[in-house]
Symmetry: C2
Subunit: 407 residues, 2 copies
Amino acid sequence: MALIVQKYGGSSLADADKIKNVAKRIASTKEKGNDVVAVVSAMGNTTDNLLRLAQQIHSEPDEREVDVLLSTGEIISATLVAMALRSLWYDAVSLSGAQAGIFTDKIHRRARISKIEPERILKELKSGKIVIVAGFQGMTLEMDTTTLGRGGSDTTAVALAIALHAGACHIYTDVEGVFTADPRLVPDAVKINEIGYEEMLELASYGSKVMHNRAVELGEIYSMPILVASSFTENPGTLIHGGIPMEIRNKVRGIAQDLNVAKITILGLPDKPGVAAQIFQALADADISVDTIVQNASVNNLADLTFTVTRTDLSKALRTIDPLAKKLKARECKSDTNLGKVSIVGSGMQNTPGYAAKMFTTLSAENINIQLITTAEIRITCIIEEGMMNKAVQALHKAFELDKTAA
Amino acid sequence: MALIVQKYGGSSLADADKIKNVAKRIASTKEKGNDVVAVVSAMGNTTDNLLRLAQQIHSEPDEREVDVLLSTGEIISATLVAMALRSLWYDAVSLSGAQAGIFTDKIHRRARISKIEPERILKELKSGKIVIVAGFQGMTLEMDTTTLGRGGSDTTAVALAIALHAGACHIYTDVEGVFTADPRLVPDAVKINEIGYEEMLELASYGSKVMHNRAVELGEIYSMPILVASSFTENPGTLIHGGIPMEIRNKVRGIAQDLNVAKITILGLPDKPGVAAQIFQALADADISVDTIVQNASVNNLADLTFTVTRTDLSKALRTIDPLAKKLKARECKSDTNLGKVSIVGSGMQNTPGYAAKMFTTLSAENINIQLITTAEIRITCIIEEGMMNKAVQALHKAFELDKTAA
């Protein structure tokens, strides 16, 4: 008999019928002889509705209070799933994050789990109960409620699987798993049956919003395999784990795209030590993440500096940069939001030449202009015009033969 | 500087504007130099909506799970009130029943408070904060959430006032206080400025639904004065306390009516020992409260037994009684739901003759037939036809000169 930790997302719990369906899936896992701990998110749009209510009271509500407010959404789901299991004659009990023994630091709205004391869960499992845990939340040592940030229920599930030495961690969501590219853009996209943690992280941070990165990182650190699958079908999903034999698989695993990109160019900056440092320090102080950075060759001791930020951060970034650019006597500061990132990802690419060249050739053959390039160990990213994105993803998917992947 | 415990009901917190209004009232109490602990109910119809959601999942949902589900309503209110206070620049913190140190027994849906460990509240007050406590809830020693039953937030407030040795306990609701009769029936009804605990209990259990009886009982046991007032006006309300000089006040304090009354008559019961006991034991086993009981004189060794139950319990009571009446060879079992109770209440009535006679004469002068009579130490109740209720209340209010009460 194994212990299985499952997680069900908000769209799988949006109404009473969907909750009953989730209960049936949990029951069938129990029926196969497993102990089950199920982590649940808030129903449908509950979290957004609670935040809207808070906004009506205070434009910038206190984060401690917001955490308590939001945590009720997952608690409500947990009680309803427990009731639904009882209506199927299974013994079930709901636990809040605090009752489940999930302790966090004091950083409200994006707390990190510090430890898990799973005695209560173990006691309930021992008495034969199915345990439903409210996801996304924990408590500080002072018994204050915290939340783990958006997508935190994934983290709750993986952390509990690790603390309970579970045999498996299943993340059930509204997609079938991880695909070689976004199936809405690429009809030939193939579901990937197995993927490594690193590859999953690169695909996720570059746009496949299948599951929360923190949860994947946690799984990687503790070598906990994670299955991502649909809560609406019985299809097998994608298994994220570390034991994938590197040599026998396709070198490029997937194509990721991301349209939340804006580019800033500072023209005619004096080319002397410390200038770039001043600019990026100012952006860091304003809590703005900078992605790709390119500085071109100096002409007459003046250089152009280009970098990207998310579109959501653009106006804040410009407010930060403009006075500084004036002070540094730069000629001009320009920005462009009609951009996107396209990436090829695959740990098989490491130390293997030719991938970058093939990527650039493919885009060039489609008349797509590459504005900036960045590379990481297992990823190559090009920044291109937004309107060219679909064409780029489709061409790369074909060029790297992902449609033929024995996934 | 005093510590004041306040309680705000659900209709005072029904939307964002009402919550802001409650925050202003709390702030003005703080502004007068008091420490404030405010207990809040769930917003408007939240509790009913959550119960409806549970019913969609399970026709008889598990009571432990229902308690957790319902407790979220008060927690949401508490966070929103704390946010509203912060928007007025007051430092405030919300606490769940568990965080407030309210421990209860394990009887879900109608738990009773076993002890209060107010250290967390005292710590927050000491740091200058206004403390908002989610009403209606507590936790067991095993850290399981319980609820105190309908109206339980009143009990939370009075219990906290006692545990914190508060200078005052204010219950804010949607009425102006306790009246000599229901103002919708008697336009001349007068607000009572001061009332004793016993009188309040008799008025409340006989129909003035101003506040929860358990809370009044608790106030009586610990001699905690309770002010009941409107959360929408600045009018002074009614003070419930024990120090009312008995001699100087009007002897009848108020008229109560209650239409949730059904009468059951068992005709032709054998008049021998143990028959009545069998019937009332069966009703008690079925968890049905019996109110007035009358057995008439025996004729041919056969007696008629009449008693009242609430209308809501009538069909369950008949299902319990019918087989028993057959077994006991009673002639017939009849019921009547077109009835109501009217009561005069006042501790000044104790040991003073003539009140009952005056009540019966008044009703008789209005051609109102009295079907049953019960008396308690400070109350006389008549059961009359439902259609006569308004006339009865108005006539009694006038006869006992309650319109002239210097309340």
